[in-house]
Structure formats: structure tokens, C-alpha cells
């Protein structure tokens, strides 16, 4: 049985149409990520799941029960807010104990449970302090601890890492995965950061303008983006998107780009019905570009690669990897190389590269939808 | 010896006056402004108007009288503040009679004996002024021969009643059937009314909303009688003193200083009996009596609004009651003698506390100003002005004016006023009066609101006065 089902959820705030028909299904024990830029509807969706916000239209089914109109208190969920929303006038201990005290739990049990959570989140030393005196990371852990302490079956996390610095984010990502594994609860996690989404989410729903664009595993999103938007959102550095035109015969389509043409991609069959001259977008990951070696493939008509004559335009070192901005004629594209390979190149160098065609995408230029 | 002194005084004053006259003619007309403090009401407004219209200084100076009209509730505070601050703003003051001791001992009010002695007109005025007014308004120490003031507005209390009810044949018959006596209507019938009848009136006219009343029905709860029982200023003492005196009790007698005592006098059995009598009659009054706020303005309003059949109140407050603009019963209200206590001999004792205000001169003026101020006094006390004043709502202080055959008919309360003058006494004039009065009003108020008995209240008053006056050296 699915743990959480959302059907056709609509919500408007005045003129702003925050959600325009969101559908999703979260399985029990799943780590589900809502990915999207700000104002895509992630927070609104979470708030409606936990009941802080009422839906204009649609249903929320939780544990097989329609909770669309139910009180917040009636739902066995907890939520971690982006702002953490810690009670500033209480100690961290009291913050953690807050959800338990309401349920009339015995004092000793409360203390035990809080201590367990505090230990798990390494908050033991902070319990007597007020949240205002704790560090950002500690505050965030208190917020999570407060959500976990009641052992809800569903945990909602609203951009919990946004207010942390980069290092802390990195550490906490691992923490979340560990918690999820240890506690086995269902987690719905909202974030604008695809790295977080890809690294943690078992499944990801990609939101845009109040609608879900694509739902799938990180791998599915990465390898089979349904449109240019998904392709652009998922993967770093960003996907290369090159304007292209359909050429070639009806049954042997050819994709022509400014720096050359390519055929036999995974999209080849799907492209056949498109008339010659259709405007397309050709996409490929920077990871799928590599400097050409003599042992590489041919000029793109036969096997898995396409050769492009390019020039180094810009070098962005990122530590262990380096992004090379290349120009091929008028067109710009990106390539990622391990640091030890990139060291050979400097700006202005001519660099012939091979593109791995089997991993490339093709989209209709007008609608942005994938052709495959 | 005294005679000689008087002649000497007259001589000096005469020489002085001649000198003044000479200067006046030589220097020709001077601008002189007399600022006068007074309460804001009819009698002072009339004085200002009459002055503006008719007054011409004999000296030829250009004399202007500028009144500072002060609302009654602030009157004492404002006058006291001005006098004690030393700003020397006022040349003349309309003073309440009780205050004069305070401001005489404070050095603010001018002793007038030498001027009176020097001026036959003033002497004549003093002689013609009713002795009750001289005593209450002019003398300090009380009943001494030191003169300070002249009556500006001499006031007495009288009964205000509703003719339409008291002279109603049906009501009269009903009253007779119930109480056996006469429901007073005519002047003579009221003259024969004692407190017992007054109480019966209170009981008789207690009607609930919708009950028959006179020719109609009571629009609201209706009450028979009311007299002042307010905590502010002297708004109960003035009536309580009447009861105390009529029952043979006393207040502290300042004329017998320093022998006069307070304890044993103020709270003697007769005083307690008098006060108790006053308290007993309050039960027939409107419920505001229970709050200790039924002051002279409240009872005035009660009769004007038609909530009560008869009240006892100052003549000075009567004109609005006859004005249809203020009063719902302007046509029906009439005036009569106050009730009194009937003695064993059947005679009615009507001792009462005098009201009204003298006007006085202040001490800081030049002789020229003082003389002009006295000229205003003479003008005001002249029979024509006094008569005109009486016609316009005032009362004359002059016996000759009051003796005129037409005086009683000028205003509906004049006859009662004149007849009651012989029954008037006053409270103390010593500077301690305000503390005595305030404490007394508080204690009376406690008795009126049922917190204390009459005896307890008077005991507390007597003790307080004894201590205060002993400390002040007035009791030995």
C-alpha cells in the first residue's frame, strides 16, 4: 500500500496559482524528493500534506485515509521547516520534548526519548541551552530531532539544508541517508538543489510552476529527461543544449548542428516521423565529452561517438575535476575532465573532442519535449 | 476715646479725599481697570452688564470693571491660587462668606473700617444692610466690629414646590385622608409646615412609574422631597446645620474663641438628634441621595426634570427653574418658606445657614484704585441698582429696599427670602474653615451613605475640630 497519495492538488494564493494539479505517490519507507526552483510549489505541497494549508481542490490520502480536510494534529507526520522554527524561549531539551509532552507521556519516558534523539543527533551537550545560542548546524539538528522524537511514520523536510553552509550541507546529506536507513520512515524532502536530490532521493519529483514535470529515480531523471527543463535541472555541470535541424532521409534521419551532423542516437527511431527541416535541440552531458584520441570512433556516422573540432575558451577548475568551456565555431559547449587530464590544456588551445552519442538526448525545439 | 479716633480718621480721610479730588480734576480722566473675580452665574453677570450700561465714575476717571467669571466648582481653587500666588491680579473679589477669614489672615482682603468711618454714604449702607448679612459677610473675627465686605448676592434657601401637585384638589384630599393634615399650597399653609409634614409629603408623593400623579401619571419613578446631601464643598453642611440649630445643637462658636469648645458641643445630644432627623428624611429622596452626591445642582436638576415634588434649595439657583429652556416645569414651580421644627409651644423654629457672597477689596491697590472700588460698592448698594438687581433674579441686601411694598412681588421667592432673613446664621470664618468643612463633609457623607451613625460622625467631627483648633491656638 502506498503511504502517501496526492491527487490533482490545486492551490491559489490570490492571483498566484501555486499548485496546478500535483499528482504523486510515495511508497512506504521511501526517500522521496520534491525538486524544483523556488516558487515551484514544493513548500506548498508539503504544507498541504501536513495540513497547515488547505487544498482548493484535490485529495491527500495518507495511510489509506483521506486526510484532505483533517486537522494537522490528526496526521501522524512531522515536519522540519526551512527556518527550523525552534521555540526561541525554550531550552533545546524543551524544544525536543515539546511534541512528546502534548501526548501526556510520562516524564521519565520523555527524558529517555529526548536523550536518545539527542544522542543520535549529537546534541547532548546543547540540551540546556536556548536555540539562539546554538550554531546553525545544531539548530538544524534540533529541528530534525524535534521532528523525529515522536517517531512519526512520515517525515516532511522543507529545504532543511538551505540555511546551512556548504560543508555542513555535505555532511548532513550523509546524515539524512543514515537516519533514513536506520529509522526506516517515509521521508518527503523538498529541495531546490539537484545534488541533494540526486544523492539522497530514491525517487524524485521534479516540479515546475506548480506542476510535476517528471517523477523517477535519479538515474531515470539523469538519463531519460522528459524535456529540456528536466535535463537542465538535473546534472552538474549543466547539460549542453545545441540547436539542431532534422536532415537526412525519412528513414535515416540526421541531426545537423552548427559543428556537424549526427545520426544513430538512441532517439533515431523516434525521429523518423519528424519532417525534414524540423527544429530540434540536441543535448548531451559534459561528462559524455572527452578529448579525441586516435583510437576513438569515427566522424559520427557510424558508431558511438562524434568528433568535434573545438577550442578551449575558459577553464573552471573545481578541484578534482575541471570544466572546460569550449567553442566549436559559434557554438559553446562544456566538457568535464579529471584534473590530471585537464592540466594539459590552456585557453586558446585547439582540442578535438569526441561526443558519446548513445547517451545524448534529442528534444523538439518548440515544446522542449524529449524525442525518444 | 473711640469717638476721638473716629473723628481723627474722618479728618485724615477727608483731607485725603480732597487731595484726591484735586488731583483728579488736575490730571483729568485716568484709565482705571478694576479686575474682579466672581463665580460665573446670573448675579455676577448682571453686575457686569449693569455696570457696563450705566456706570459713570464721579471722579471723571475712565473706570472699567473687568470680571473674571470662574465656574462654581473651581471657584475657590482659582481664587485661592491667584491670591496666594502673589500675582495681585484682582482688585475686588466676590468671596464666599466662609473664606474671608483665610484671606484676611493671609493679608489679602482689605479692612474697610477707616473708609467707612470717613464716608457717610458707606456708613448709611452698613446701617441699611440686614444684620444677618453684616455678620456673615463683613465681620472678622466673626461678629466683631471689623468690616471687610458688602453683600454682592445675599442668598437664602427656600422650598421649591410643584404648584400643580400641591394645589391639586385630588391630591390634597388624598393627603388629608392619609395623613390627616393639609397638603401645603398657599404661602400660609407652607408657613405652617414643619418637618413632620415634610416627611409626610415625601411619603405621599413617592410614586412608581405609571402611578397616578396630579392630573396625569408618573412618567418615571417619582419622589416627594429632596434637600442637599452632597459631599462636595458645603453641599450637606448647609442643610445639616439648619437641623442642628433647630434642635438646639451648635457648631463650634468662633465668636467665643478661645473659650468655645468643639468636643461636647458639636457632638452634643441635641446636635446628634438634629443630624439624625436630617438623615431620617433622606429616605423619601431619589436614590442619588444614597450615593452622597445629591448636591444643590442635582436637586435643582431633579425638580426641573420632574422627578421630585419639592426641594429645599438656594434662591440663587431658582431662575433657571423658571426658564422653560432648562426646566420642564417652569410654569409649575413656586416658592415658599422652608419647613422648620415645631416646638412644644407650637411655634416653628427655622434657623438656617445663610448663603450668598460678599464682595471685598484687596490690599495691594493704590488709594486711587481703592477709592474707585468703593465708588463701585456705593453704586451697587444704591437703592435703584439693588431694586433692578432684585428684578433681574438677584436679592437685595438693603433693608430699605426689601421693605418696599412691591419688593415681595418682584420675584416669586422674595417674600420667603425676606421673611427668612431673621433666621440666618453662618458657619465659621476662620482660616481653618476649609479643613473643618472638608472633614465635616466627609464625615457627614459617611453617615449619609450609611457607613457611620450620626453620633459616630459628629464625634469624629468634634474630635477633629478640637485637635485642629487647639493646634491653631483657637481653643485653650
Amino acid at each position: 500500500m502506498s503511504h502517501l497519495i496526492i491527487q490533482d492538488l490545486h492551490k491559489s494564493f490570490g492571483d498566484l496559482r501555486a499548485l496546478q494539479g500535483v499528482d504523486m505517490v510515495v511508497e512506504k519507507g521511501e526517500f522521496f524528493v520534491l525538486l524544483g526552483p523556488s516558487a515551484a510549489g514544493k513548500t506548498t505541497t508539503l504544507r498541504m500534506v501536513c495540513g497547515i494549508e488547505r487544498a482548493d481542490q484535490g485529495r491527500v490520502v495518507f495511510d489509506g485515509e483521506d486526510v484532505t480536510g483533517a486537522e494537522v494534529r490528526g496526521r501522524d507526520m512531522a515536519m522540519v521547516f526551512q527556518t527550523f522554527a525552534l521555540y526561541p524561549h525554550m531550552t533545546i531539551f524543551d524544544n525536543l520534548a515539546y511534541p512528546l509532552r502534548q501526548s501526556g507521556m510520562a516524564k521519565a519516558d520523555v527524558v529517555q526519548r529526548v536523550n536518545e534523539v539527542a544522542e543520535m543527533l549529537r546534541l547532548g551537550h546543547t540540551l540546556a541551552r536556548k536555540p539562539g545560542t546554538a550554531s546553525g548546524g545544531e539548530q538544524q539538528r534540533v529541528a530534525i530531532g524535534r521532528a523525529l522524537v515522536r517517531r512519526p511514520s512520515l517525515l516532511l523536510l522543507d529545504e532543511p539544508l538551505t540555511n546551512l553552509d556548504a560543508k555542513l550541507r555535505f555532511d548532513t546529506r550523509a546524515e539524512f541517508k543514515r537516519l533514513h536507513r536506520e529509522l526506516g520512515m517515509t521521508i518527503v524532502y523538498a529541495t531546490p538543489d539537484e545534488l541533494e536530490a540526486l544523492s539522497m532521493g530514491q525517487r524524485i519529483a521534479l516540479l515546475r510552476g506548480g506542476r510535476i514535470v517528471q517523477t523517477g529515480t535519479p538515474d531515470e531523471l539523469y538519463t531519460k529527461p522528459q524535456d529540456t527543463y528536466v535535463a537542465g535541472m538535473v546534472g552538474s555541470p549543466k547539460v549542453n543544449l545545441i540547436p539542431a535541424i532534422r536532415r537526412g532521409a525519412d528513414d535515416a534521419p540526421l541531426v545537423e548542428m552548427p559543428f556537424g551532423a549526427v545520426q544513430n542516437g538512441p532517439w533515431a527511431d523516434a525521429l523518423k516521423p519528424f519532417p525534414v527541416g524540423s527544429e530540434l535541440i540536441f543535448g548531451f552531458r559534459p561528462h559524455d565529452v572527452a578529448p579525441a584520441t586516435d583510437t576513438g570512433g569515427d566522424d559520427g556516422d557510424g558508431g558511438g561517438t562524434m568528433r568535434i573540432a573545438a577550442k578551449v575558451h575558459l577553464i573552471e577548475p573545481l578541484g578534482d575535476v575541471v570544466i572546460l568551456d569550449l567553442t566549436a565555431g559559434e557554438t559553446q559547449l562544456k566538457m568535464v575532465l579529471p584534473e590530471e587530464q585537464a592540466i594539459r590544456y590552456s585557453v586558446g588551445d585547439d582540442v578535438p573532442v569526441n561526443l558519446r552519442v548513445e547517451n545524448s538526448f534529442l528534444f523538439a525545439r518548440e515544446t522542449g519535449t524529449a524525442i525518444c | 476715646m473711640k469717638h476721638k479716633l473716629n473723628i481723627l480718621g474722618a479728618l485724615t480721610a477727608g483731607i485725603f479725599a480732597t487731595g484726591l479730588a484735586v488731583t483728579a480734576t488736575e490730571v483729568s480722566a485716568k484709565d482705571i481697570v478694576i479686575n474682579m473675580a466672581g463665580p460665573d452665574w446670573g448675579p455676577t453677570r448682571f453686575l457686569q452688564e449693569k455696570f457696563n450700561k450705566t456706570y459713570k465714575a464721579k471722579s471723571g476717571n475712565n473706570v472699567k470693571l473687568v470680571f473674571d467669571f470662574i465656574p462654581w466648582p473651581n471657584f475657590y481653587d482659582r481664587v485661592a491660587a491667584s491670591l496666594t500666588s502673589g500675582e495681585k491680579k484682582y482688585q475686588m473679589v466676590v468671596s464666599d462668606s466662609q473664606w474671608i477669614g483665610t484671606f484676611i489672615e493671609g493679608g489679602h482682603f482689605l479692612k474697610l473700617n477707616k473708609y467707612i468711618d470717613a464716608d457717610p454714604t458707606l456708613q448709611a449702607i452698613m446701617k441699611d444692610t440686614h444684620p444677618a448679612f453684616v455678620e456673615a459677610y463683613a465681620t472678622y473675627p466673626h461678629k466683631s466690629k471689623n468690616y471687610y465686605g458688602f453683600p454682592q448676592f445675599p442668598d437664602t434657601k427656600m422650598t421649591w414646590f410643584r404648584k400643580d401637585l400641591f394645589c391639586h384638589a385630588g391630591e390634597k384630599a388624598a393627603f388629608k385622608a392619609k395623613f390627616g393634615g393639609t397638603l401645603p399650597c398657599t404661602y400660609a399653609e407652607w408657613k405652617d409646615t414643619d418637618w413632620k409634614t415634610w416627611a409626610s409629603i415625601g411619603e405621599f408623593f413617592r410614586r412608581n412609574k405609571g402611578d397616578k400623579l396630579g392630573d396625569g401619571v408618573a412618567a418615571d419613578d417619582f419622589y416627594g422631597i429632596a434637600y442637599q446631601a452632597g459631599k462636595g464643598l458645603d453641599f450637606s453642611s448647609m442643610q445639616i446645620n439648619a437641623f442642628i440649630w433647630q434642635h438646639g445643637g451648635s457648631i463650634w462658636d468662633e465668636a467665643n474663641e478661645p473659650k468655645a469648645q468643639a468636643v461636647g458641643v458639636v457632638n452634643n445630644a441635641a446636635s446628634v438628634k438634629g443630624f439624625q432627623h436630617y438623615l431620617d428624611l433622606l429616605k423619601w429622596s431619589p436614590p442619588v441621595a444614597k450615593t452622597g452626591q445629591m448636591d444643590i445642582f442635582v436637586i435643582q436638576e431633579l425638580i426641573m426634570q420632574g422627578k421630585v415634588a419639592a426641594i429645599i434649595n438656594w434662591a440663587g439657583l431658582a431662575p433657571p427653574a423658571l426658564d422653560p429652556k432648562n426646566s420642564k416645569h417652569a410654569k409649575q414651580i413656586d416658592f415658599a418658606l422652608t419647613p422648620g421644627l415645631r416646638g412644644k409651644d407650637g411655634k416653628i423654629s427655622r434657623w438656617d445657614n445663610i448663603g450668598g457672597q460678599p464682595f471685598v477689596l484687596t490690599t495691594w491697590n493704590s488709594d486711587e484704585v481703592t477709592m474707585e472700588a468703593l465708588e463701585i460698592v456705593k453704586w451697587w448698594m444704591s437703592p435703584e441698582v439693588q431694586l433692578d438687581f432684585a428684578k433681574n433674579g438677584g436679592e437685595s441686601g438693603l433693608m430699605s429696599v426689601m421693605a418696599r411694598s412691591d419688593y415681595n412681588s418682584i420675584r416669586p421667592w422674595n417674600r420667603a427670602h425676606v421673611e427668612l432673613l431673621d433666621w440666618q446664621k453662618d458657619v465659621w470664618h476662620v482660616p481653618e474653615f476649609f479643613e473643618m468643612l472638608t472633614q465635616q463633609q466627609e464625615e457627614f457623607d459617611k453617615a449619609i451613605t450609611g457607613q457611620k451613625t450620626a453620633k459616630q460622625a459628629l464625634d469624629a467631627i468634634a474630635k477633629f475640630q478640637q485637635d485642629l483648633l487647639t493646634e491653631a491656638g483657637r481653643i485653650q
Binding site: Q102 | K290, K307, T449
Partner: protein
């Protein structure tokens, strides 16, 4: 080239500081004799290092004349035998009047009356003010209009409020009594008993000042972030618990300020009492402020009233310091 100096303010700092330069400038201006020294004086007075002091001087002088001097003067008088109504010069009395005031049972009685009124009135203001603030925190139709109406009593003069309520309480004509009579058959004489009169005052005072408490509390309520309420909802807090743990901590500081401020103010209550009951019945509602007024301006016991006033001032100073302490503490909290 020398420009004539026509404006004091335009004279540069350098010129006004060095007499030589200043002479140099003024020599070329066409002014009658004597104007020069006058202008020098102005320049000296308004030179930059003195300008600030000069600008605040008038206010300071006024403050001294109107406040500080009379304060010191009356303080001095409290150590002398002196009656404002008397021409007798003051005689030294030492602490006589302080001793007299502090051992006077009447003073203690008046203080007790005042305390009763303060306690009831401030409590009522707190409760009503808080309740109104909770109401106005929500959005509802005509909220703004209603809020303005509710705030009006605060802006009325004491005297007007006193007169209104006196008329309301009037047993024969008053609306309160008429309403009471409609239900219970007999008129209501609220002012006839001690506690009736005290409540009459308390109601008038609370009517006037509850909006003030409301404003302060409302400021606190508005400062509570919405997400805390949401968090509390998710944490399944009951209404009462949410109020106690989320709302109240934000309001507590302001409420304390309101409490102290209203206590100080109500401690000095005069006008409303003076008009509604004049201290009656008897002396049941005579507050300490009314008593001071009576002693000072009706009995003219100047020394005694000064001594009493200074003792009261001391009480108020203590309360004020408490108030300031909490203001500062709140500032630190935020």
C-alpha cells in the same frame, strides 16, 4: 577678495575663530557702528563648537525653570513650616513633616485605597487588553474601523471620561441605573457603597486604558513568527499550550511593561476619581493623589503636602526604575 558676511551661519569656522581674519572681513561691510560687536558676539555664540549647546539651551532653560527649579523649591519647602496662604515666612522644620506624614494613619488609609484601585484596575486592564489584542490579531471585516473605535477612549481627556461615567452611574437618570432598573426593578446606586464606588472608578479607568495594554500586547502578538504557530500545530500542541509556550513568551516582556506603566499611572489617579466620586462616599475612594491635592490646595498645608509628594515621588521612582530595567532587558532580548 572679501565678501561681506551677511549670514552668521555662512561665516567659516576659521574666520570666526581668528579675530584678525574676522576683523578683516567685517571691516569691508557697511554696517552701523555697534553692529560689528553684535555680530562678533553672534559669531562667537554660534561657532561650531558652541552651536549644539546653544541650540539646546532654550529647552534646557525652560526645563529648569518649569520643572527642575519648582521641584527643588518644593523639596526645600518640605523641610520648613510654611503655608502658601499665609504671609508668615517659612521656619525650619527638619524632618518634622516627613515624620508627620509617615505616621499619619490617614495617609496609610489613602495608600491602601489607592492600592485597591490600582490592583483591580490594572488587573482588569491586563485581562481586557489581552483579550482585545487576541481578538484584533485576527483578520476580520471592519477590523481597522473597530480598532480605531476601541482606541478612542485612550485619547479622550480624563475629565471627559470622568463626566461620562458620572452620568452613567447617576441613579435616577443614568443609563446604567435605568438598565439595571429594567431588569431588577429598582435603581442601581453604585456610588453609595465603598466597593461600588471603587468598582465605578475601576471600570472607568479600565475602559480608558485597556486599549493601551491592547496596543502593547498586539505589538507582541504580531511579532510572533507564523512558522512557530505552524510548528506548534505540527507538534500537535493544544490551543492553550500553544498560547502558553509560543504566544505568551513573545508578549510577556511587553505585558510586564504595560503592567508597570499602568501601575505607575494608576497610582497617580486623580481626575477620574475627583469627578466621579470626589473621594466619596465619605473617604472610601479618596486616593493618595486626591488627598495630596486636598492637603496642598484646599488646606494649604504646603510643607506637609510637599513632604508627602516627595515620599510618593520616591515610590514612583522605584517603580520607574523597575520599568526601565525591564525595558532594557527586553531590548537585549530582541
Amino acid at each position: 577678495m572679501n565678501k561681506p558676511v551677511t549670514n552668521v551661519a555662512s561665516a567659516s569656522a576659521d574666520l570666526s575663530r581668528t579675530p584678525a581674519a574676522s576683523n578683516n572681513v567685517t571691516d569691508n561691510t557697511i554696517t552701523p557702528a555697534g553692529g560689528k560687536s553684535m555680530r562678533d558676539f553672534w559669531q562667537w555664540m554660534f561657532s561650531p563648537e558652541r552651536r549644539g549647546a546653544m541650540l539646546v539651551a532654550p529647552a534646557l532653560i525652560m526645563l529648569f525653570l518649569m520643572n527642575i527649579f519648582p521641584l527643588m523649591w518644593s523639596f526645600g519647602l518640605s523641610f520648613f513650616h510654611y503655608k502658601a496662604s499665609s504671609i508668615r515666612p517659612p521656619r525650619f522644620a527638619g524632618f518634622y513633616y516627613y515624620e508627620k506624614v509617615l505616621t499619619d494613619p490617614v495617609v496609610w488609609e489613602r495608600l491602601q485605597t489607592t492600592a485597591q484601585i490600582v490592583a483591580l484596575s490594572v488587573l482588569l486592564q491586563m485581562v481586557i487588553g489581552f483579550a482585545m489584542a487576541l481578538m484584533f490579531e485576527k483578520k476580520f471585516p471592519f477590523r481597522r474601523e473597530l480598532l480605531m473605535l476601541v482606541l478612542t477612549p485612550m485619547m479622550l481627556s480624563f475629565v471627559a471620561v470622568g463626566v461620562f461615567f458620572k452620568l452613567f452611574y447617576e441613579p435616577t437618570f443614568g443609563i446604567l441605573s435605568q438598565g439595571y432598573a429594567y431588569f431588577f426593578g429598582e435603581p442601581l446606586t453604585l456610588l453609595a457603597t465603598k466597593w461600588g464606588a471603587i468598582w465605578a472608578i475601576v471600570i472607568a479607568d479600565a475602559w480608558m486604558w485597556s486599549p493601551f495594554v491592547m496596543l502593547l500586547v498586539l505589538a507582541g502578538l504580531v511579532s510572533v513568527p507564523d512558522y512557530l504557530y505552524e510548528a506548534a500545530a505540527v507538534d500537535r500542541a493544544s490551543w492553550w499550550r500553544r498560547f502558553k509556550t509560543v504566544t505568551f513568551p513573545y508578549v510577556r516582556g511587553l505585558l510586564l511593561l504595560a503592567l508597570l506603566f499602568r501601575t505607575i499611572e494608576t497610582f497617580k489617579i486623580f481626575d477620574v476619581v475627583y469627578i466621579i466620586t470626589a473621594g466619596g462616599p465619605g473617604t472610601s475612594t479618596e486616593t493618595i493623589a486626591v488627598y495630596v491635592y486636598k492637603v496642598a490646595f484646599q488646606f494649604f498645608k504646603t510643607s506637609q503636602s510637599s513632604a508627602l509628594s516627595y515620599i510618593l515621588l520616591f515610590v514612583v521612582i522605584v517603580l520607574t526604575n523597575l520599568y526601565l530595567y525591564f525595558v532594557n532587558r527586553r531590548n537585549e532580548e530582541i
